[in-house]
Amino acid sequence: MKAALGKFNSAIATAEEAFAIVLFYALLGGVVTQVFTRFVLQSPLPWTEEFCRYVFVWLSAIGTSIGIRWGSHFVAVDLPGTLTGPVKMLVASAVKIGITIVALVLLTEGIHLTLEGQNQVTPILDMQMSWAYGAVPVSGGLMLWHLAMGLLFGQRSGGLDDLFGLEEGKG
């Protein structure tokens, strides 16, 4: 059961990262298309700005949830890292509970926001706003998933080293 869950978790992580990369290049493509049609073709496409805005919303949301799995969100003090034994467990649990509460609010309130968005459409793409608002609950849900899987399988050490591909003492 745990092995199957592990495989499913890996599949989710891979899909999430692939989606993040697609979002990034879609954003880049959107911005470049905007510049190209405005300066080269002298006929700007009306939808590129709106497209970029909503891709960026999703990119930010997915970047946030991957950040939970990587452990790469900025922290002021890494107190659990300096402790040992049961105190460390207690503080680390408090940290997880704190993140879980915020993720839960983003999931539940984000669902309400998304449902409300069914009645609104974007001005140019004529797209239901739910597609844009949906980024918030999806991000909250993925964060909760990563927190749960972190409890089951342990979490990557992450942080700045992960973000910049560094190794300790590389310099």
């Binding site: 990369i21 954003l27 911005v31 300066f39 922290v75 503080v91 940290v95 915020v102 700045l160």
Partner: protein
């Protein structure tokens, strides 16, 4: 009740909850016990923060800097800088500063600049006989030039809050950015003479400078296009970031032929995650900022300062002190998000030019990147080198003083920095 919200956030910071989530928790706690607004405010404000046209440039500038590093273009920049200033006493320290000035014209984030330049120059400096602690300190300090010289991610965040022209805000950073570089080179020279740091063995020659310039010329095109495009008004900052990213890919993949598809995948993912870290802070702190505004914190402060008759200079000096203290404990983005909604209305009432204030804010926050316990750039350099924070800090303080000198100059002589945006964007 407001105090309770701040206490929750502070407890969160201290026990190690990520900054964004600790702030979010404070806002959630406040909404839970009061009837100021429904809990949906949190999700609403997160969406509003993500739906920001100006900040689309953030992942693209981050990507440009990371691609430049991944494609080994940093080495060419360093060779170019070395040909120019390597023969001065403490040559590699000056090379570090000049490389960061050029990188600053491309990426706009101190951490990625420190990672790119430091990964090449710190080992080279140690090999040449510089103490590792000094090599780390100058790398961390010089990287803070990045967000001051345009393009600048903190300045983008500031401009989106203060509702000022991104182009003007960027251009106001030009003089202080070069001022920081000059101050750091003077300090490095002084330290190098006192401590007898080496010079680069290769003699200065115009032929060597010319050869290095030819090798680096395509790379130098990137900052020229970014800054030139924004200054002339051809591109917006967002469009410039897209063009810069495409140029970086073109150089790495087709011109120098060193950039792999795998690297492009990895760098795109890094850019998304870094952007996520910044945007989470922005999103979750927006709820807190909304509460502070509704509870008339800014209005009360404005009334108090107006009664006291504070001058723009006094106001900016006080703000600098507050930001320097906060910078010891928080990263630049969360500080801006907590402070700006309160401070901007006050600044307007006191008669401060908001573009001028943007430079003061960004500069003050750059010292925070170097000060313990939470100096992100200092932490990154410690992580790269295995140095202890205390060892790095011992070597960083002369550079703090240098940046502090630049801040004082900027506060006291606004005309000396504002002439650039005034001249270019009349």
């Amino acid at each position: 009740m407001l105090v309770g919200m701040i206490v929750i956030a502070l407890i969160g910071f201290v026990i190690g909850i990520p900054i964004a989530f600790a702030i979010g928790l404070g806002a959630i706690g406040y909404l839970f016990v009061t009837d100021l607004a429904p809990m949906s405010l949190i999700a609403d404000e997160v969406f509003v923060a993500y739906d920001n046209l100006i900040l689309i440039a953030v992942p693209l500038f981050l990507y440009t800097g990371l691609i430049m590093s991944e494609a080994g273009l940093t080495e060419r920049l360093i060779a170019f800088a070395n040909s120019l200033v390597g023969r001065v006493r403490g040559g590699l320290a000056h090379v570090n500063v000049i490389s960061n000035v050029i990188m600053a014209g491309m990426s706009g984030a101190a951490t990625s600049d420190a990672a790119a330049v430091g990964s090449v120059l710190i080992p080279a400096m140690v090999k040449s006989g510089y103490p590792k602690s000094f090599a780390g300190a100058i790398t961390a300090a010089a990287a803070t030039i990045g967000p001051v010289i345009p393009p600048s991610i903190p300045m983008l965040v500031y401009a989106s809050f203060a509702d000022v022209s991104v182009g003007r805000a960027f251009l106001a950073g030009v003089v202080p950015g070069f001022g920081m570089a000059f101050a750091m080179m003077v300090i490095s020279y002084w330290l190098a003479v006192r401590r007898n740091y080496p010079i680069t063995p290769d003699p200065f020659s115009f032929a060597r400078v010319a050869a290095a310039t030819v090798r680096v010329a395509p790379v130098l095109m990137v900052p020229l296009v970014i800054i030139g495009g924004i200054v002339v008004g051809v591109f917006t900052a967002t469009e410039a970031s897209g063009i810069a990213a495409v140029l970086a890919i073109g150089l790495g993949m087709f011109f120098y032929r060193v950039l792999s598809w795998e690297a492009m995948r990895r760098v795109a993912l890094q850019s998304v995650v870094l952007t996520g870290s910044i945007m989470t802070v922005l999103g979750l702190a927006k709820g807190l900022a909304w509460i502070l505004t509704r509870e008339r914190v800014a209005a009360t402060l404005t009334e108090a300062l107006t009664t006291l008759g504070a001058s723009p200079t006094m106001f900016l000096l006080s703000l600098t002190v507050i930001l320097l203290i906060m910078g010891c404990f928080l990263d630049a983005t969360p500080i801006m998000i907590i402070v700006l909604p309160v401070v901007i209305p006050v600044a307007k009432s006191v008669g401060v030019d908001l573009v001028h204030m943007g430079v003061v804010v960004v500069l003050s926050l750059m010292i925070g990147l170097l000060t313990p316990p939470v100096g992100i750039t200092a932490m990154l350099v410690c992580s790269m080198t295995g140095l202890k924070m205390s060892e790095l800090v011992q070597n960083c303080w002369p550079f703090w003083l240098g940046i502090l000198g630049v801040i004082l100059f900027v506060v006291l002589f606004p005309a000396a920095i504002m002439w650039v945006p005034d001249l270019v964007m009349r």
